[in-house]
Structures are given as C-alpha cells and as structure tokens.
C-alpha cells in the first residue's frame, strides 16, 4: 500500500510537471497578442511596451520565465497580468464556494443515480425501467446552461422562492442553502441521469454472473442478492466515473454553473481567466484542476482495491 502510494504520488508529480510545461509552451508559442502589449494598454508607445517586457521578464529565455512563473505560483505570489490580483489568494477564496457547490451536487446526483439505476436494473424491461430510462435520457440531454436558465427564470423571476445568484458562506446555513439549491440541481441532473444508466447496465451484466445464480441457489432473498452480491460488484464503473467527474468539478470545472449563478468559485475565476487570456491565472487554475484530477484518480485506485480483493495495490511488478 505504501509502495503504491509513493509510486502514484511520484507519478502524479510527473503528470503535473508535464501539464505545466505544456500549458506554458502553448501560451508562449501561440499567444493571441503580446502579453506586454496587453499589459501596457491601448495606444501604448513601443517604449512603454518594451519597459513592460523588461519589468515582467518577457524578454528572458523561456526556461527562466517558466521557472520564475512556477516559483511565484508555489510561493503564493503569482499575480494576474490584468488586474494585478493575487491568483493563489483568489483561488483559495473560491474554494469554499466551489466545494459547497460540487459536494452538494455530488450527493444529489449519487443518491438519484443509485436509486434510479438500482430500480431500473431490478425491474429491467418493466414499466418503471422504461419510465426511468426516459427520465435519465431527458436529464442527460439537457444542457446545463439551458436547465440553469430555466430554473432561474421560473424560480427566481416568475415565482421568487430562491435568490437569483451569488454565494453565501456557510456561516449562515439558511442563506447558504437557499443560494445553492438551484445550482445543485442544474449541475446534478446531467450526472444523475448518466450515472443511473451506467449503474443499470453494470448491474445487468453482473446479474448474469454465475455467482449470482449461486447466491440464489443458496436461498437468499432477491433483495439480498441484489443489494449484496450484485450492487457491490457493479460499483467499479460508477466509482471510476465519479473520481474523474468530481475531480474535474472540484478543480474548477463547474464553469457554466458557477458563471450562470454568479458563484465566485474556482470555476468562475477560470472562466474569467480564459476570457481575458490572463496567463498566470490560466496556468494556476490548470495546475489546480490537474491536481484534483490526479488526486481523485489515486483515490479511485485505492477504492478499487477495497471493492475487489483481486486488485492488489503495490504488488504488481510487471
């Protein structure tokens, strides 16, 4: 287990390094405009641009620029080109909002995904299954921005039961909740539909396994066969998906939801960074996001070993 962790952490660091180099190169090889010119503003004289270049270090060799940039990011001193705000601080401030949004939404989508997927599998081919299939397809087909707009229109404008936008800290739980319910729903619907389909098909596969027949031949009740023998063996595809999806979202991937509901989280900041093509911000949010994706992949691998004893961590020498 320890060997596995060390190996995976080293691997993760290599991945993060590769990503940082890639993002850095992409930004420097294909810039839309010269960053110095953008910092200097409209109608800047060539001299001013040159001064900015020197001041920000754009005239240095690329490896040196990369090194400086990384040092700034990891010491918490990185500033955006545009607004000169501290990027690390801005991301740190966004984490509570993003975490509130993503964890809440994940609880909703997992609950409904499991419930609907389980019921669909148990009643496969029946009316309940067909109904849930339609529901899941509707959920999967609804774009987040469209669903969010509909929810906003009906529940904040037509009937004003929820506040329109923003994020309130958890210190006032009532306010926190009322500001998050609509974002949670708009983010969770897509995933709930998708997960229910994945769980359903995974369970139907497992139901044909010999050991399920053995379990029935032992005289176990249908419910026990399903909840113990089938469900446990059906979890791996769902866990795999969840690790990836959740890692992406918590790392700033909930861009659409955060933007539409004006939740000042990491996703909204990512959107702003992309719009203004602000290199330090993009670099930092990319690394931040990549970190969570890599982290959740490691957690998923640990979960595999827990779910299936045949998967052993750290023993494969191949």
């Amino acid at each position: 287990m320890l060997r596995f962790l060390i190996r995976r952490i080293l691997g993760a660091m290599a991945v993060l390094f590769a990503i940082s180099v890639l993002v850095f190169l992409i930004f420097n090889v294909v810039p839309a405009t010269n960053p110095a010119a953008r910092i200097a503003g409209k109608n800047a004289t060539p001299q001013l641009i040159k001064n900015v270049e020197e001041e920000w270090g754009f005239d240095k060799a690329l490896p040196e620029q990369y090194w400086t940039q990384m040092k700034l990011i990891f010491t918490g001193k990185v500033e955006s080109f545009q607004s000169h705000i501290n990027v690390d601080k801005r991301i740190a401030e966004g984490i509570p909002a993003t975490a509130s949004l993503c964890i809440g939404a994940a609880i909703i989508w997992l609950s409904f995904g499991f419930l609907f997927g389980y019921l669909s599998a148990v009643r496969a081919g029946g009316w309940l299954d067909r109904g849930l299939t339609v529901l899941a397809l509707v959920g999967v087909s609804m774009p987040v921005f469209w669903l969010a707009s509909l929810l906003l229109y009906y529940f904040t404008y037509k009937i004003e039961i929820f506040p329109a936008s923003g994020y309130e800290p958890l210190s006032d739980p009532g306010k926190w909740l009322s500001h998050l319910i609509l974002p949670w729903i708009s983010l969770a619907v897509l995933f709930a539909g998708f997960y229910s389909r994945v769980l359903r098909s995974s369970m139907l596969d497992v139901m044909n396994e010999d050991y399920v027949r053995t379990a029935r031949a032992k005289g176990l009740s249908q419910r026990r066969v399903m909840t113990k023998h089938v469900l446990r063996n059906s979890l791996i595809p769902v866990i795999t998906l969840f690790g990836l999806d959740f890692g992406v979202l918590i790392g700033g991937g909930a861009i659409v939801t955060e933007t539409l509901f004006n939740i000042e989280g990491v996703g909204l900041f990512t959107a702003e960074a992309l719009q203004t093509q602000d290199f330090p911000s993009i670099m930092t949010v990319t690394l931040f996001g990549a970190f969570f994706i890599v982290l959740f992949n490691i957690l998923v691998d640990i979960a595999y070993a827990y779910l299936d004893p045949r998967i052993r961590l750290g023993t494969s020498t191949a």
């Binding site: 081919g125 396994e209 010999d210 050991y211 027949r213 053995t214 379990a215 029935r216 031949a217 032992k218 005289g219 176990l220 009740s221 249908q222 026990r224 113990k228 023998h229 446990r232 063996n233 779910l307 299936d308 004893p309 045949r310």
Partner: protein
C-alpha cells in the same frame, strides 16, 4: 454401486413416496425467434441415498431441468409445466419466498465452474456463513463461522481455520469446488444437485471431487443428481442414469443397463466416444457426427434421426419412452428399433459398442 435394491428398501423404511419426484416437466423459453422448448417432458424419481446421473450434450436440457427443480429458471420469459415434488410437496406452484426456504436448506446445488460460481469480492467463509444464516438466523455469526470451518474440514480443505477468511481467488479450482460443496452441505440438505461439478477441473482433481461426492452420498445418505456429459464420470458414481437429447429423456435405466445393454443409438454414440484403456486405441477418436438439433426447429419424429445412421421409415413418428425389453419395466428408451436389431447394430466390433454406419 448398484444401489437400486438398497434405495428401494430405504424408501420403504421412510414410507410414502420418493424423496424427489419430477413428472412431465416441460420448460419453454420465449425468445425473439420463437419459443424454445428446452425441456420437453422429463420424469424421474430420486430416492434417499441414490445418485442419479443426467447425461447429454450441451443444449440437451439437463441443466435447465436441474435449475427448474429449485425454481431458478422462473422468469417472465419462461413457461414451466409439470410437477416437481419434494417429500410429496409441490414446488412448481410455490411462491418465490417459499422456494427460498427450500433452496440451500433442502436442495443444494453446485455448479460447473468453481472459478465463477463464488462471488470474488467476499471471503469463502463469509459466503458459507451467509448460506447458513439465510435459513437460520438464530445461529450467531460466531457459531456459523465455526460451522463453516467444520464444513471446510469435512470436504477436505487443509488448514480450514486459516483458509476460512481467504477469498475465492486464493483457492485452487479443486479447492473452490470443495468449498462450493461445503456451502451446499451447510444446512444438511437431503438433495444435492451437482451441475457438471467436475467439467472445469483437471482429471486428478475430478477424481477427488467425485470421491468426495460419493463419500457424502454414502455417509450422509445425500441423494444426488449428477449432471454431466461425461460417461466416465457416470460410471464412477451413478446408480441410475437418464440420457437426455433435445429436451427429452431418450433412455433411462440402471448404470448396468446403460453401460452393458444400451438401447438408444445416442447412448451408443456416447459410449463409443469414450476412450478406454483396456482396448486398442482407435485411429480416430469416435464421435457422433453432426450437431445437436436447434430446439427452435426440432426434426419431425425422433430428434436424433438426422444424426442416426440406423434411421428407417418409422423414425418419422415420435417414439415414446417405453420399456421395450421384456422383463425390465425400468429400462426404457425412445428408439423404434427392435431389441434384437439394436444388439446387432450397436456392436461395431466384437465387444465394443458404438454408433457407426452398418457395414
């Protein structure tokens, strides 16, 4: 081995009918291509302490018969007719929850592939404990565990106390099948259905598992239905034999009947394809030419007709499962040939039975 007289006396002591009686069992499945009649009228009786072998190729309906006995083939797409009585009690009409009480506790079943028949994510012990507690919640977890170790010891697993917490993948194939048998025995059932229990095992392990089944049969009086396609296995342990083809029983009799006086050409073919060490090796391994019929489209008359070199006009009519030998009402078969003709045709070489074109 010839337990027919003994078993008859056992049932006389018990009084009443047979332990397990299957009458006119028919199992059909609705498929997209039409209804598949997987089992078409199977009758047999099983007495305590008896080993009944059901023999046939893949698709002959032997596994479906076995699974239907404990209701595992019930589904919206299946159609089950006929009767299965355990100690006189009808099982086919019982509700699912009533059947659950029978499964595992009165009739246990073990399956072909021990690799896939145990759930890979739970320990062997926990799966045995689960079987015990499914029927007897008054047994504590600790008692069940002790019982599981006892059972694993009984089926010959060394260091059972140490292995009870091992996962199935940590067992060898033979040990897994032993563990499956231990699980089947957990509640001391009166009937054990073994569906190709040795097919996935290598030959030496096969012999050990058969010995084990035979031991249990003798020492506990465990009535056993042994499903197999391997007549070598049958010869080892069976008292009586049903030969199935295309969902029907084509011949039934005692072990001696089937091996020394087989009446149906299909049985000859099965016997002919056994390799024997006491006879010179044939140039080619004899086989029954052709493939088993599609159950969607059975030939008219005798189902074996298209593969039978001894076919004649009468074979277009469906033969009944009748006693065709004078003086032996229990040896029955579905072949229109006269017993004398059969004796002549089956002897492909002096002393060797087989299915070959008459020369």
């Amino acid at each position: 081995m010839s337990a027919t007289p003994e078993s008859a006396s056992v049932s006389a002591i018990v009084g009443g009918g047979p332990l397990l009686a299957v009458d006119g069992l028919r199992v059909g499945f609705a498929t997209e291509d039409g209804r598949v009649q997987a089992v078409d009228g199977v009758d047999f009786q099983l007495e305590p302490g008896e080993v009944l072998a059901i023999v046939g190729e893949s698709g002959s309906g032997k596994s479906v018969t076995a699974q239907t006995i404990i209701g595992l083939t019930r589904s919206p797409n299946s159609h089950i007719e006929g009767s299965v009585r355990l100690n006189g009690e009808e099982l086919t009409t019982q509700s699912e929850s009533e059947l659950q009480k029978v499964r595992g506790s009165q009739i246990a079943m073990i399956f072909q592939d021990p690799m896939t028949s145990m759930n890979p994510v739970f320990t062997v012990g926990s799966q045995i404990i689960e079987a015990i507690r499914a029927h007897d919640t008054s047994t504590s977890r600790k008692e069940s565990r002790a019982r599981a170790i006892e059972l694993l010891e009984a089926v010959g697993i060394p260091d059972a106390a140490g292995r009870v917490d091992a996962y199935p993948h940590e067992f060898s194939g033979g040990m897994r099948q032993r563990a499956m048998i231990a699980m089947g025995l957990a509640l001391e059932p009166s009937v054990l259905i073994a569906d190709e229990p040795t097919t996935a095992l290598d030959v030496t392990i096969q012999a050990q598992i058969l010995d084990l089944i035979q031991d249990l049969n003798k020492s506990r009086g465990l009535a056993t239905i042994l499903i197999t396609h391997d007549l070598g296995v049958v010869a080892e342990v069976a008292d009586r034999v049903l030969v199935m083809y295309g969902g029907k029983v084509v011949e039934r009799g005692t072990l001696e009947d089937i091996f020394y006086d087989p009446q149906h050409p299909y049985t000859w073919g099965l016997l002919g394809s056994l390799t024997r060490i006491d006879q010179p090796r044939p140039h080619r391994l004899p086989q029954i030419s052709g493939a088993p019929p599609s159950l969607l489209n059975l030939p008219q008359g005798c189902a074996f007709r298209p593969r039978c070199p001894h076919e004649f006009a009468k074979c277009k009519e469906v033969p009944g499962l009748d006693a065709r030998l004078s003086g032996d009402p229990n040896h029955r078969d579905r072949c229109w040939l006269e017993p004398d003709q059969k004796r002549k045709l089956r002897e492909v070489e002096p002393g060797r039975i087989g299915l070959e074109e008459p020369t």
